[in-house]
Symmetry: C2
Subunit: 446 residues, 2 copies
Amino acid sequence: MSRKTFHLNAFLMGVGHHEAAWRHPRTDAHRVLDVRQFQNLARIAERGKLDSVFFADTLAVGPRIERNTLAVFEPVTLLSAIATATERIGLIATASTSYNEPFNLARKFASLDHISAGRAGWNIVTSGSVDEAYNFGLDAIPEHARRYERAEEFVDVAVALWDSWESEAIVLDTEAGIFADPSRVHTLDYAGERFRVRGPLNSPRGPQGRPLLVQAGSSESGKEFAAHRAEAVFTAQRTVEDGVRFYRDLKSRLAKYGRAEHELKVLPGLVPFIADTVEEAKALEQEFTDLISPDYALRQLSSMLGVDLTAHALDAPLPPLPAESEIQGGKSRFTLVKELAETEDLTVRQLIGKLGGGRGHRTFAGTPEQVADELQTWFEAGAADGFNIMPPYLPGGLEDFVDRVVPILQERGLFRADYESTTLRGHYGLDPVESQFAPRDSRVSA
Amino acid sequence: MSRKTFHLNAFLMGVGHHEAAWRHPRTDAHRVLDVRQFQNLARIAERGKLDSVFFADTLAVGPRIERNTLAVFEPVTLLSAIATATERIGLIATASTSYNEPFNLARKFASLDHISAGRAGWNIVTSGSVDEAYNFGLDAIPEHARRYERAEEFVDVAVALWDSWESEAIVLDTEAGIFADPSRVHTLDYAGERFRVRGPLNSPRGPQGRPLLVQAGSSESGKEFAAHRAEAVFTAQRTVEDGVRFYRDLKSRLAKYGRAEHELKVLPGLVPFIADTVEEAKALEQEFTDLISPDYALRQLSSMLGVDLTAHALDAPLPPLPAESEIQGGKSRFTLVKELAETEDLTVRQLIGKLGGGRGHRTFAGTPEQVADELQTWFEAGAADGFNIMPPYLPGGLEDFVDRVVPILQERGLFRADYESTTLRGHYGLDPVESQFAPRDSRVSA
């Protein structure tokens, strides 16, 4: 077996992950509306040979209007603009299985894969906020289990649509007037519980066969879905022990789906504050914490927990919370926040400070060496195949990581010195996928 | 009243509008998969100071798999990539009101408007082919009248979502920690027959307020919808007399919606074959006609008419056709084709030849001077506010129009010598739109 490889994704959000990033002098909040900001960030990440950039998304404003920036751009539209400004880095967009049609979603990602010459990835989400439900004709969040059932069926259809064109389907025989070989373009005639789709997709097979499939929910349903479908998982883990437990849990579920461990990469999030000394790094983090607006943070916390805390005292502990089984929104984030507050015995004000950097993802303040040590420790302990780097402020936080931490990882032989592939699947060590409808002898062997 | 202005849109499709374009040596059919082809075409159109480029779309492969190319790219994703390669030209994408959710569509066009700094346009279609219905869980095309009812409600919701952010909503007061003024960000609480959407949109107001609204159906419902909603109309007209009649008809419907005539531009299609002499231009057209594959053309014609003609004799006239009122698909294209065959007494083979260039749009072969004369004649007769130029082959057909015809139009004082605006709405002589929710005193007066 080849040596385990090390992967890095840059998770980009507005002018940084810290909820007060837009107020800090190291950022320019006007840039949340400027596509050039995001093209520039992707170029910085590409300079560091990172595997991919990733954009989250929710289909509602949520509690953010007054006090915080928002994800202005629809991610696929944004990544198409970024694709033309970069050459190698992977491009991962979030899209919801609850509020899209499979045909439209499959088409849009096929377009992005063609436009980027094989760099498209789809972060599959089931949309767990009630604000999203209200924008699509519903009065409540669809039940957690029902959302995952729909997601399973949705992915079946989307994959079949991408597979509806075999890679050899396009003939382009101008003499005979044959554009495509109809025996290699397939209708699905899919008829399931939630979808009926004839196909084929109106886009030929993309360079990767299908986009990289990514997932980020860590509930029981989320882990099972990831084991079945995902090729990369973003996850929030507080300690290396938690990380190892999650990693082993997820990898152990792969065999029953006939999958090998290397076919799914586990990427815990890290919010790094980087400076020349640990004292400076901690002081920098504190500058951001001091800018948190408690009324916004309370609304944000209420939204994460699905419990209204806006009238709750800041210096009291959390009120009693429901069991995870009663939660219909995002279960894993709920439990993470609840456990953090309980195990560290935090007041709401302290909890808000801890969550400000990355909404529950691990925050780490230190020197470039210390950040590299931290990543190496997790990687070598078997808690990670790589990391989801969440710069607290942008572009500076990404520049510091790329220009100061990545060279250390490269020097230690942990991370690639240059790209060895042209596609996102290739960066993550995966082969292009042949159509499920292709004759066996034409399939690429794995 | 100011002098009537003259507008030009480039309607781009694959390697050209002629159905056999991909087989002709003047094209390279591989380029239908290459985003750089489309970026290059848009740059050529921008060199000619054209108002806009436009991409059609259908949500199915239709009868095209074997014998013809297809629209590979989802138009908004494609136009985002084109936006970053151009600076001034407008970018119009087709999207369906029958098979999208208003929230998703409004978001995507808001993104494109931000990414392009105010150059987004939406060609509103109701999707009249049964192949599309099959990809979205239906067994038949939804009734023509129902599709237009849904389109009316859909546009109401989309416009309200774009209006949910006033242009002054973003405050960005980093000191006080105020990102947006909540009194200028509006929920809709829209509850209609087909949609319930709370809002607001998760994207601040775009530079144009809302995208340019474009429409292309010329049936009775289509014309009424256009008079109510559209700011530009693409239409297929066979003669200048037909064109004048359509133009007067459409403009006369505006007053009842409180709209002025200049608020809707009528743009008939033209497929120009351009050469140094009329003989060479006609010979060039014949080269393309000779490459038509009759079996593909019969399937294409069957799809346009909603009647299976694949077993019909090529040298016989059309069989008796149903009345327009019985057609549930695209009514105006049906009637155009039927009337063309009847008035010119054509066999199916002859009809196929006539339709090959632009699916019923007027084809014209001549010198650059003659093409310019033709456009001037229609414009001055009151049949057009400008034209939807449909190059039969690409990029050559567009280059000839831009480099040989546009300079003549500029010399005659008909067409702009340079852009006078930075937005698509500006090119078409329209103001940015203020939110319907904005206080009266903050609205921009027209």
